[in-house]
């Protein structure tokens, strides 16, 4: 036990004395989240939008005035035809178009089913969803005002269309995505590098020729990074709740539990990499290219999995981050309980077991 404790303390010396790496490890998630956070809150003011109003009646004028008086939108009055609007989308001049159906007021009053179409440029999904949300809430507001006055249920149907990125990957994906990426970076890359470093230094020879069991060596390499990962999780969650205003709908304990499961998976992957490489450079490249890339490309973090070719969809199943992101979204955003994520938990648990099994088989007791 004392061996383990001393070894872990040694690892902490390594980590804490390398200030630069430590700052990157602890600062990176914060910086990354803040960048996402500010991108979301800043750019949605005074966005250029177009309005296509064929019916030109009282109701449409009221809606337009309401849109215009909000601080979110600037209506580009020069755009008056659907062709012009389409062109403006392509040029990127506008981010949103509000299209009223013909005879809007008439429909509203008589058939009780007036249609407004919101078309957003979803190349920037965060912005698109925010704009659509703003616009539809303004329309709803108008609708409820109308109902207050008339005591009659008028309904406006807002139909949304996302151009270019119909999946609408929004702000809420960035937090789970950053979590998945940072944890993988720290747990997998740093663990594998720190084990391989001992091989490069020649100290691994001594460790092998000592009564210290290989499992102990591994365990003491893993624990410090496990703790650093927990610190990161805390800072990410605090930031996302208090700075980005993204509430945790489900149980925070469940969220932490699945995160720990994911960290264990990432750590065992790190051990696996360290058994396969002899140089720090190779360990880093494998972690970065072999893991970070799939996390970004195939986990559903940046690109919707549903839109991928079948082969990539199949491959995405072996990316642990995919399952983790699903779990975080389920718990954090949708507020689901364990019953909703048991399948994903089992998958990650199974992956961890496989990685560990292979590592133990591959771990060399000799050089």
């Amino acid at each position: 036990m004392k061996q383990l404790f001393t070894f872990i303390r040694k690892e902490f010396h390594h980590i804490l004395r390398d200030y630069r790496t430590m700052m990157v490890l602890l600062g990176l998630p914060i910086v990354q989240l803040l960048i996402f956070g500010f991108a979301i809150t800043n750019e949605t003011r005074n966005s250029a939008i177009a309005v296509l109003d064929i019916s030109k009646d009282e109701a449409t004028q009221n809606v337009i005035t309401k849109l215009e008086s909000s601080r979110y939108f600037d209506i580009d009055r020069s755009l008056t035809s659907s062709q012009q609007i389409e062109q403006a989308f392509k040029n990127g001049r506008i981010k949103l178009a509000v299209i009223f159906q013909p005879n809007f007021q008439n429909e509203l009053m008589h058939s009780n089913n007036a249609q407004i179409q919101l078309i957003a440029d979803a190349t920037d999904p965060n912005q698109a969803s925010t704009l659509v949300n703003y616009a539809s809430s303004i329309i709803m507001e108008y609708q409820s005002e109308l109902n207050d006055q008339n005591k009659l249920p008028y309904t406006i149907n807002t139909e949304m269309r996302m151009l270019y990125n119909p999946e609408l990957k929004g702000a809420y994906t960035s937090v789970p995505g950053v979590m998945a990426m940072i944890l993988l970076l720290i747990s997998t890359m740093m663990t594998s590098i720190s084990i391989v470093k001992e091989k490069e230094l020649g100290t691994m020879e001594i460790l092998l020729v000592s009564p210290m069991k290989p499992a102990m060596v591994i365990l003491s390499k893993v624990i410090p990074y496990f703790i650093v990962s927990l610190v990161n999780i805390a800072s990410i969650l605090l930031l996302s709740v208090f700075v980005l205003g993204m509430p945790i709908q489900g149980s925070i304990f469940l969220l932490i539990a699945v995160t720990i499961l994911y960290i264990l998976c990432a750590l065992s992957l790190g051990i696996l990499i360290s058994t396969a490489t002899d140089s720090q450079l190779a360990a880093m490249l494998i972690s970065l290219l072999g893991l970070m890339l799939p996390v970004v490309m195939l986990s559903g973090y940046a690109f919707p999995i549903a839109n991928m070719p079948t082969i990539l969809q199949v491959i995405s199943n072996i990316v642990p981050a995919k399952w983790y992101i699903i779990m975080v979204k389920s718990v954090m955003i949708k507020g689901m309980g364990l019953a909703g994520i048991w399948k994903e938990s089992l998958i990650i648990g199974g992956m961890t077991a496989v990685f560990l099994l292979i590592s133990i088989k591959r771990f060399k007791i000799r050089l």
Binding site: K2, Q3, T6, F7, K10, H13, H14, R17, D18, L201, G202, T203, E205, I206, L207, L208, V209, S210, P211, M212, I365, R366, L367
Partner: protein
């Protein structure tokens, strides 16, 4: 009864050890049919240049590497079957060994003590001599120590768990003569405490500090014996020749028809002759125009013997 058996046991025994490494195209025979044994309490030296196979032998003995052929024992334990036991009783200082550069002197020693299930205090008397010299710098990071100091710390780390046998792979490479001298003095003291030591070096002058040595080249042992015996078996008269112009002397000596071998040795040239006749050489050099020269018969060193063996 068993106690007695242990006492008369060989510290190390190797029999017909072969180790090959296969690279892309070619296979390299690193250790080629090597057999030797080390007595308990002995300082045994593996002497040879880089690539002679010394490191492979150390790794086989410390159970880090499996030999292709042959058997090896350390303190009676088989290196393949009883590797766990061997690992707990040997002290090993690998050639590439660097300590943890970002840990201090004290932290390094403490760390190695702990992973060997002991404490600095418990075996302090063993490392006291060496560690005393390091104590003034104990809060300094190992990366900031000089070569000599690093070696001393590494030795302390290898010793801290009171091993019965020490394996030191090129402990003095790149270390200055003063630190080297001090290092060997430490080994001598360790020997008096009954620790068997197997040490390798590429510095031939260190050979005479061992009880017995194996001269190695290209994975093979050329000769094993006490240094003095090896010197006695040189079998030729060796002459040291010097003159005012050493470079010209060397070319002239090499051109001398009776020269068997001639090598520069510091401020003298060492020479063996086919027909042992210093007087004839004297005449030859006088004729060649060397005036201030001097020929004297000397006792060969291990380096002379090594070079003689290399030629065969």
């Amino acid at each position: 009864m068993q106690e007695k058996e242990v006492l008369y046991m060989k510290a190390v025994e190797l029999e017909n050890i072969v180790k090959t490494y296969s690279a892309k195209k070619s296979t390299v025979v690193a250790v080629n049919d090597v057999s030797f044994s080390v007595n308990e309490g002995e300082v045994f030296g593996l002497i040879g240049p880089d690539g002679a196979g010394k490191t492979s032998i150390f790794r086989i003995l410390t159970t880090l590497l499996l030999a292709d052929k042959g058997i090896a024992n350390v303190l009676g334990y088989d290196v393949v079957k009883e590797w766990k036991t061997i690992r707990s009783i040997v002290g090993y200082m690998p050639g590439k060994f660097s300590l943890y550069q970002d840990l201090t002197v004290e932290e390094n020693l403490e760390f190695f003590a702990t992973i060997f299930n002991t404490t600095i205090q418990e075996n302090y008397d063993l490392v006291a001599d060496i560690y005393k010299q390091l104590e003034p710098f104990k809060t300094r990071r190992a990366g900031k120590l000089s070569g000599g100091m690093k070696q001393k710390l590494a030795l302390s780390c290898a010793l801290i768990h009171k091993p019965k046998i020490l394996f030191l792979d090129e402990p003095t490479t790149g270390v200055d003569p003063v630190s080297r001298k001090e290092f060997w003095e430490m080994l001598k003291r360790l020997k008096t405490m009954g620790i068997s030591i197997v040490v390798s070096t590429s510095y031939m002058d260190e050979a005479k500090l061992c009880d017995r040595i194996a001269l190695m080249q290209n994975g093979q042992i050329m000769k094993i014996d006490r240094p003095q015996t090896i010197v006695d078996e040189f079998g030729k008269n060796l002459y040291a020749v010097n003159s005012a112009n050493m470079f010209r002397l060397l070319t002239d000596l090499r051109a001398y028809p009776q020269t068997e071998s001639c090598f520069a040795f510091g401020d003298k040239h060492h020479l063996t002759m086919k027909e042992d006749n210093p007087k004839m050489l004297n005449d030859y050099l006088t004729n060649a125009g060397h005036n201030d020269f001097n020929i004297s018969k000397i006792e060969p060193g291990i380096e002379d013997c090594f070079m003689q063996l290399m030629k065969i």
